[in-house]
Amino acid sequence: MIGHVLRAAGWLAASLALASAAVFACLQLLPGDPARVALGLNADPAALAELRSRHGLDRPAAVRYLEWAGGLPRGDFGTSHVTGLEVGPQIAERAGVTFWLVLGSLAVAVAVALPAGTAAAAARGRPLAGAVAVLSQVGVAVPAFLLGTLLTYALAVRAGWLPATGYTALGEDPGEWARRMVMPWLSLGLVQGAVLTRFTRSAFLRVLGEDYVRTARAKGVGRAGVLLRHGLPNAGVALLTVIGLQIGTLLAGTVVVERVFVVPGLGDLLLRGVSDRDLVLVQGVVVVMVAVVLAVSTLSDLLYKVIDPRLRSAR
């Protein structure tokens, strides 16, 4: 098992190094001059050149990359040329917000998908299964921002139950924090839940077709018992992988949802950074997001092997 962990860590480090180079290279190709955005409509060429040289933007890209990437392992994300502020603390502050957003949405998604998917599998061929299939199809087709907008009209504008937008820090007032996160969680979570429901259903169906399930049933284990004792752990392995993959989709979804609900997370920071051409900030945020996705998929890979011993011995 230790061998697995070491190998996985090595791959993770290599992928991160490659990803940071790719992110940096992509941003170099982005059209639009950061100095011009900062100095505005009437900036003269001398002032633009001065600003570029002050921030070292006139040096070769390779030098700038090495300088930036060299700081990353120490947690040094560099200093923004646009605001003059350090990027690391800004990312740290926003990452917590996005973390709770993703976690809450995931909880909503699992809370919807597990019962719905299991029920659909158990009720195969009956109207309930059909209803779940239709609803999950609708959920897959509705984008999170549309669901978010509809929720706001319903729960904030019409009913007046929840604030339409805005954020309160968890440490400041947990109740208010939860009230403000409900709609973002639902918007992201219900859409992801729909996707997950379909996976859960097919995973359970596959398990229910296995020989050991027939054996268990023959030994007199009840329908529910089979689902819980054999179905859940086995379908769980498949689900874990899907959830691992969905972290990336969820992170991408936060960009839109944070904008709709004005939640000050990483996605909001990213969009603003792109618009201001705050490249140091943008590359920092993207690298953190890529790192999270890679780490989660590595972790779910390892967990997979813990849960299912067959995969461990296969290597």
């Binding site: 639009g32 955005v37 954020y167 004005v262």
Partner: protein, 509 residues
């Protein structure tokens, strides 16, 4: 005349109600409370677009910075009143010498910065010099005309100009004229120090900027203790927050087609005023075929601006015929110079031999520009020329390619700075208009007496319009949506700032 009532989202609301039923269970767990975060008489919550990247307007050009900081946290020696006239602020009075080159400001006594330091003529001289020495934004060159600024005693400042300039005194009412403390300029990006009626309380990035009443303010204390600026990247989110009770004002409505949702029954009031934001159809005066004045005039004759205003900004706004808005004292209605006349437009294009020419209309990806571009395209194509629309990301790409490199035939952008007619006088500016008569008039206006300034500027605006240096599609309105009971909002946007000190809640009657 088409009715302007926008369609209400009925279908949406029904779907939304169904969704509401479905999610009610979750809400019970989360607990239901007051409509939105506590509004009240002790604060005003203002919705704005585009959060500032930093609070330092000396090194970052973003309009959101002076909007929040100027007249609230920072003050100048002079300011604009609600009618757009210059009046003293931190200066009690000022005098202009006979030759127009020397200004003497008599400064107020007992003014303190929020860091406790006293405001003196030394600070004023320091602030003016600093614009020339340290500021990096393009606007700072408006201070170049200053030869010397000296404190002749603790409360008297003398400023000598290289030449007489009316534009300089006007610029002193903008961010250029903000007064800084000699000991308070180390962390401008996050910790502004000024003499204003408010001080910065907190700035929660990505969400809100909170100003608190300055207890040591030299002037009349503002009535509202706390002002919250909330920033929205998505105008739709701002509207929904206002509807749900999370805001007291939308300072400058960006979706005029949604104004119908804010009814008096709902407790809202809509105020329509005007601005300095000329939506300019820029034409590249350097490149064929638009280097030919006949073709430029043809473009102006071709466009049905009334219809365009309906499409682009739901009919809100004013038609103008040159780079001067009605807020300026020398405004003259020039909409008749090249009126909508498609036949004349076709004749002019034929005369200039420009049929079949292709014009690249490269616009920023902003709603008013993209909407206007489609009308311009369909109107101008009726003259026999082709128009290709390309939408560029704003600000970064548009600034670099159109504004910076001049790689365009036509573009559409709102020039929001006050009194920016002079932009056309610089032949290197992206219009590439080289009218000498116009440039001379602009310079004479800047040097002259108030009467000369008005006469020459009026004439310059007329020359500019007759030369069809550009087309002026419309003037942006100032659309403010306010909660019933909030008073003291300016009708027009005369300067760069959102001034909070005049706001107050009316007593419930």
């Amino acid at each position: 005349m088409r009715a302007l009532e926008p369609p209400r989202p009925h279908g949406l609301a029904t779907t939304a109600r169904a969704l509401a039923a479905g999610t009610a269970a979750v809400l019970l767990v989360s607990g239901c409370g007051a409509p939105d975060d506590g509004g009240g008489a002790d604060q005003v919550r203002v919705g704005l677009v585009a959060e500032p990247a930093s609070l330092d307007f000396t090194s970052n050009d973003g309009a959101a910075i002076p909007q929040a900081m100027l007249s609230n946290v920072y003050e100048g020696l002079v300011e604009l009143d609600a009618e757009g006239e210059i009046r003293p602020l931190l200066a009690e009075e000022y005098e202009r010498s006979e030759d127009g080159r020397t200004y003497t400001f008599r400064l107020r006594d007992g003014v303190r910065f929020s860091d406790g330091a006293e405001f003196t003529a030394e600070d004023a001289a320091f602030s003016i010099e600093r614009v020339k020495e340290e500021w990096t934004i393009g606007l700072a060159d408006q201070m170049d005309v200053v030869e010397e600024a000296t404190a002749t005693d603790a409360h008297t400042l003398e400023v000598v100009l290289e030449r007489p300039s009316n534009g300089w005194l006007y610029a002193m009412t903008t961010r250029i004229g903000a007064m800084f403390s000699r000991t308070g300029v180390d962390r401008l990006a996050t910790d502004p120090v000024g003499t204003g009626p408010y001080t910065l309380d907190t700035w929660e990035r990505g969400d809100r900027l909170v100003l608190r009443r300055n207890p040591d303010y030299w002037g009349e204390a503002p009535q509202v203790p706390t002002v919250v600026f909330r920033y929205f990247q998505d105008p739709g989110a701002m509207n929904r927050t206002m509807l749900a009770g999370g805001l007291d004002v939308i300072a400058n409505m960006q979706e005029p087609e949604e104004l119908g949702s804010f009814t008096a029954d709902g407790g809202f009031r809509v105020v329509e005023g005007t601005t300095h934001g000329e939506v300019v159809l820029a034409m590249n005066n350097d490149e064929p075929p638009l280097d030919d004045v006949r073709v430029r005039r043809a473009v102006r004759h071709a466009i049905d601006r009334e219809a365009l205003l309906e499409t682009a900004w739901a009919g809100h706004g004013t038609l103008i015929g040159s780079m001067v808005p009605p807020l300026d004292p020398w405004y003259e209605d020039l909409t008749g110079v090249h009126p909508y006349d498609p036949d004349r437009a076709r004749d002019l294009v034929e005369e200039a031999g420009a049929e079949g020419e292709t014009l690249r209309l490269r616009v920023p990806n902003l709603p008013y520009a993209v909407n206007s571009a489609q009308v311009v395209q369909s109107d101008v194509e009726k003259t026999g020329m082709d128009v290709e629309i390309e939408s560029l990301e704003f600000p970064a790409r548009w600034l670099e390619e159109v504004h910076g490199a001049g790689d365009y035939d036509m573009s559409i952008i709102a020039h929001v700075e006050p009194r920016d007619l002079h932009l056309f006088a610089d032949p290197d500016y992206y219009f590439h208009y080289g009218g000498e008569k116009f440039a001379d008039l602009v310079e004479e206006a800047d040097r002259g007496s108030p009467q000369e300034q008005a006469d020459k500027t009026r004439e310059a605006a007329r020359v500019l319009s007759e030369d069809a240096a550009a087309d002026w599609l419309f003037l942006m309105p100032n659309l403010t949506v306010a909660r019933e009971g909030l008073a003291g909002l300016p009708r027009d946007q005369v300067g760069e700032a959102f001034t909070a000190k005049t706001l107050h809640w009316e007593e419930e009657g």
